[in-house]
Structure formats: C-alpha cells, structure tokens
Symmetry: none
Subunit: 134 residues, 4 copies
C-alpha cells in the first residue's frame, strides 16, 4: 500500500452519497496508477477515521468494490486491489453502462452539447486516466 501517497477525495458538500464518491475515487486511483494490483487499501476503521465518516459507510463502499471485482478482502490480512485484466467481461454491467451512455447522449443533445464536444471530453478523460488499464 502506498499509504500516505494516495488521497481519497470526498466532497462532503456534494449531493452524491459518500459511499459512491469513495467507490469512484478508488476506481479512479487505480486507473491513474496511484493504486495498483496487489496494493493494500486502508482498513475500514482506518479509512473511516481518515475521512471522518462512519465506518458503515466505508464498509458499504468496500462491499460494492468487492462485488465489482475491484477489491478483494482476505480474512485476517486486509483488503487489496485485485488483479483485473484477465477477468471475463461482465456483459450485464457493460450493457448498463451502454444504457447510461445513451441517456447521457440524450441529455447532452437537449443541452445543445455537440457530439464533437462529447468526444473531446471523452478523449480528455482518457488522457487524464492513462491510456491503458494500469
């Protein structure tokens, strides 16, 4: 674990639920290479203390990440970033993402966002997150 290195960004003023923010933040850290496969993440209690939030909330985030094959908990040892590259694709959740993209495009069009803009943003995020899965 890179411990102090990796900082989770929780915006307490955001309307997004804390646990979802935590989930996203960890996913982003992995894509950025701040966390890599095998790294240990702080324990629920430790993370809760660090982020000044309820352990139940952290626990919920970890559970979600375990469900999504992003983290794995080994009893008595801790929680770790999972090696993910050679997993079969989860086609069900992929379809859900596709559906969400469609909704996003619909809303974008109504906001007068051009396809060009959307593409540019997407490519920007790609750069930001690293060209390939770390």
């Amino acid at each position: 674990m890179k411990g102090a290195d990796f900082v989770v960004r929780i915006n307490k003023a955001s309307s997004k639920p804390y646990y979802e923010q935590l989930v996203l933040s960890i996913k982003e850290d992995i894509l950025n290479g701040v966390l890599t496969a095998g790294d240990q993440v702080p324990s629920v209690r430790e993370m809760a203390k660090r982020l000044l939030m309820n352990p139940n909330t952290v626990s919920k985030a970890y559970k979600v990440l375990e469900n999504e094959q992003v983290l794995v908990t080994i009893k008595g040892k801790g929680t770790f970033v999972k090696v993910t590259e050679d997993l079969p694709r989860d086609e069900i959740r992929i379809l859900q993402v596709k559906e969400r993209l469609k909704e996003l495009v619909i809303e974008a069009r109504h906001l007068q966002i051009s396809m060009r803009e959307l593409s540019d943003w997407m490519n920007g995020f790609e750069q930001e997150l690293g060209g390939d899965l770390q």
Copy 2:
C-alpha cells in the same frame, strides 16, 4: 401530438424512478422526431391512465421537463413541446453532464470497455437520435 404513434416506455421493475424514466422517454421522442415543437403531450391524467401511474408522478415529470425548457405547460390548455428558440446554453447542467461522463468513463475502463467501443456506441446513438435537433 401524433397520438398512437408515440409510445412511452416505463419499466416498473427498474430502480430508476418512474418520473425520470418518463422524462428521458419524452426527451428521446423529441430527438427522434416523434414529438416536435408545438406538439401537445397527453394530459397529465391521460398519461397517468395510460401508464397506470399516479397523475402526480406524471406531473412531476412534466414539471422537470418544463424546468429544463423542454416543455411548456399552459394552465387550462395542456402541456406542449417547446419551440426550440435559440436559448442560451445552461452551462450549469452542461458541467454536470461532463462530470457524469467522466464517471462513466471510469466505470467503463474498469469493465474493460475500450475507448473505441465507447466512441462507437456514442456515434451509434447519434445516428439513432437523428444527426440534428429536430
């Protein structure tokens, strides 16, 4: 309104609230050209009957769409698709869509969806929805 032509699809099993599904459905119908500027949408009561839901729920959806400058409602007359005047862009909502796109990209990468796939889907939706605002 084209009456029988336009069909709203509500999935009562979805976790997405009915009113949000209705909002999206109407937005999509507009982009598809099924509904065009000036068309009257079914009355709150009529739509509620059709979708087997409470009029208040339909009303909420219409209210959201009115707020987003998609519909206008005229008391005593009905609810209509708004003429797409040259409205100033709603930069606040645009930023929110951009943020949602970033989250979507993060999740896509974790699901081993390539950028290429995402782009292809996006272009597909573009076709499907009509190249330009109808």
Copy 3:
C-alpha cells in the same frame, strides 16, 4: 444554522403558494446573512412541524432551491446552504427576471408610481439585503 435566530414567515392567507413563500424567505435569509454557506437548514420534517404544514410542501420548496443552486441536499444528512462557488450565470432565468421587471414597470406606471420612487425602493432593498452576496 443559527437555529432560533432565523425565522421563516409564511402567510397562510396569501394567495402565493406556501412553497414559494418559503423559497423566497430562505433566499432573503441568505442575502441578509442570517443563513450563510454551509449552514444546515431545518430538516423537512422539523420545518414542516414549525410551519404547521405538510413535509411534502417543505420538500418541494427545498427542491426548488436545490434546482436554483441555492441549497444542496445530501440524502441521509440534511439540506445545506450551498457554497457560492463561481457558478456560471443562469441566463435563462435572468431573462425571465428581466421580463418580470418590465411587467412590473408597466403596472407601476399605471399606478402612478414614478420611476424615481421605483429606483428609491430598489436602492432601499439593496441596503436592506446587504450590499454584497454574503
């Protein structure tokens, strides 16, 4: 939140809907500095009890204010005065206010209110509400 300090005034005899009165009252409290960024407003249930109205009505007011970027609500935590980030101006609503001002001027003229009076009132309100966004 300053608790007892801030008092919301609802006139049940007014023809203006309760929820709109509540919206205005909170906006005024913010300009007055009675409520400042980050403050928690009373919970929906608490406010409803205080004002002797239905929680749904309070909720509607909060929802409007959230939509107008005045409040943020965090599920499970409460509703808060939004930090006044440098948000882009909402040009659509600005145009609507301009239109309402024109109507108000028309009616003022018919009531034999001079422009001078209108200006004086406006400046008075400016003082009353604090020269700058608190």
Copy 4:
C-alpha cells in the same frame, strides 16, 4: 379607437395565462400612446374573434382592467380607455407592487444580477414606454 392600428400581442406558447397577457398588452399600449384616454377598445366578441380566443377570456381581461380603473364600460356604447391621471393613488396595490419589486430584487441577487444591471433595465423600459404617462 385606432382600430387596425393597435395590435394586441398574445403569445399562445407562453405559460402566462391569456387573460393576463391581454391585460398587460393593453396597459402597455396605453403607456406607449397607441391607446389614449377616451379611445374605444374592440368589443369582447370582436376582440375574441381577432385573437382567436374564448370570449370569456377576453371578458375576464376587461373586467380586470375595469377593476383597475384602466377601462370603463358604458352600457350600450362600448368599452373605453379611462382618463386616469387625476385618480387618487391606490396605495394598497402600490404596496403590492413594492412587495413584488422586493421579491424581484431578491431573486435578481441570487442570479448574480447587479443592481446596476437592474437599474439599466428599468431605465430602458422607461424609455421604451415613454417618459411620462400619456
């Protein structure tokens, strides 16, 4: 009556009730000098035909304008623009306008509209409507 000269502008796509639009439109025409004291306005039936609206709606507008001392109906002769300059000021309605101005200022401040902008708009409308009551 200037008959053909004066055109009432009703926007059927506006969310503002027809009768209110009609009231405002006539008030504006008077300030502009398009209608002056003593002019006859079209009969309810005639106006309804011209505007393609329900006579009841026109009737309601005329009633409002009579209540506000803007029009006067003489049985068997028609409806006329009233001489208004030497009427006592209606202090009750003046207070209501003052209250509406306050609300408008509150909302303007939240929309980041400067007092300067508001003043400029007001002066602009003054010009547009003619410097003095016609």
